[in-house]
Symmetry: C2
Subunit: 263 residues, 2 copies
Amino acid sequence: MTTDMTTLSPVELRHLIRSGDFFGQTSGLCPGYTQANLAILPKDLAYDFLLFTQRNPRPCPVLEVSDTGSRKLHEFADDIDLANDFPKYRIYRNGKVDAEVTSVADIWQNDFVSFIIGCSFSFESELLASGIEVRNITEKVNVPMFNTNIPLKSADPFHGNMVVSMRPIPETQIPTAVQVTGAMPNVHGAPIQIGDPETIGISDLAHPDYGDPVTIKAGEQPVFWPCGVTPQNVIMQTKPPLVITHAPGHMLVTDVVNATLKY
Amino acid sequence: MTTDMTTLSPVELRHLIRSGDFFGQTSGLCPGYTQANLAILPKDLAYDFLLFTQRNPRPCPVLEVSDTGSRKLHEFADDIDLANDFPKYRIYRNGKVDAEVTSVADIWQNDFVSFIIGCSFSFESELLASGIEVRNITEKVNVPMFNTNIPLKSADPFHGNMVVSMRPIPETQIPTAVQVTGAMPNVHGAPIQIGDPETIGISDLAHPDYGDPVTIKAGEQPVFWPCGVTPQNVIMQTKPPLVITHAPGHMLVTDVVNATLKY
């Protein structure tokens, strides 16, 4: 592939993904544009899941919900095929990953509802713009993510604990990091914990439950944000018959610029 | 009734309402505490209505959704009976007001879902605290509300236009009014129109569609906010078989202080 990935527009990237010519992670692509998590559920579970997200907006900020059966969106992208435009999907059956695929067109159902959920990739570019280094970008790895002991509010049958992402921040820059991300509640908002991982049930920062470890330097605190992997954790704990998600790091790149998500 | 209404706590007020000893408007009661709009729908319409609110958060900011059939809440009030704790309810059948009652306990159904929706009464106290006069409070009338030509995003079958509330604000204070209310997106957030009512389809400020007219003085602009009466307008346009709402101005007074709704 000779395409220069760094200059693609969101719709050009989605076309490349749709044609099968790109199926990698989307971190760093189309900088400034909102990237999003995915959960596709049959309609009979859609009310309970939408209620679950309403009750847990910090880890599950819903950007848009598709019409039932539709592979289109109204707000976040024009030229889009929800069954093909994520680089990689996970098919969960009864709470376990049954397959990772690059298209779900062949198993699409007319009763599918797609939930497009905010992603912390969106605030990373805002942190960088505020002069705050994002360690996982510097070290070219996936952000470290951890299971916690923070219980979510249930919406029967959906239940579980929050997943968080961690970024080390120099102590002097923590107030700025809180303000920058706090202004973007649609992409998880302010941190949920600063500097004391054990209080939220995290004992070993060197071994994240998802993603990769990053260096924490002297004078830095680990800062934890609600994470869009939370729905996948909830699906694993709730075990519905069929749910489709994106594969971690393989996000939808939308036509909406991050700046419009700010208050 | 000899009760001093001005010193009641929210739970004391709810007890008074529940016992049938108070059924008036709640404007100005329990200052500082969040007041809320109501829409109760049978479960078979709950997904479409919840999706409608997700797509239209400015006029329909959902504070909490009850469990199906439950007359309790988890977050906004402890000691509460949703079938009795609003001073007055409206029963809509096929889009028309069939009755106004002080209790809906006798028609309660096990499939009812209650939507608790933010109310601009909550930001009025914040405007006052910022030194901005709220004319409808000064003149002791209900806030003027108007139908507009602003289309809402549909979630089939729910559709319709936005209703707005209007408060005249001195031109020098408009930026402050925008900032104060913009910081409270759960209770409608920033204005949707400033100073030019005809662009949103309002031709006569002296004759509001709901509530009462207020004086607009020289040097003031009419400022319009999305309004929690919007769901009632949508229900009238959508005509579902049965929906219960609060009667305008007769709100739920919750245990949550307005300050916690701020970003």
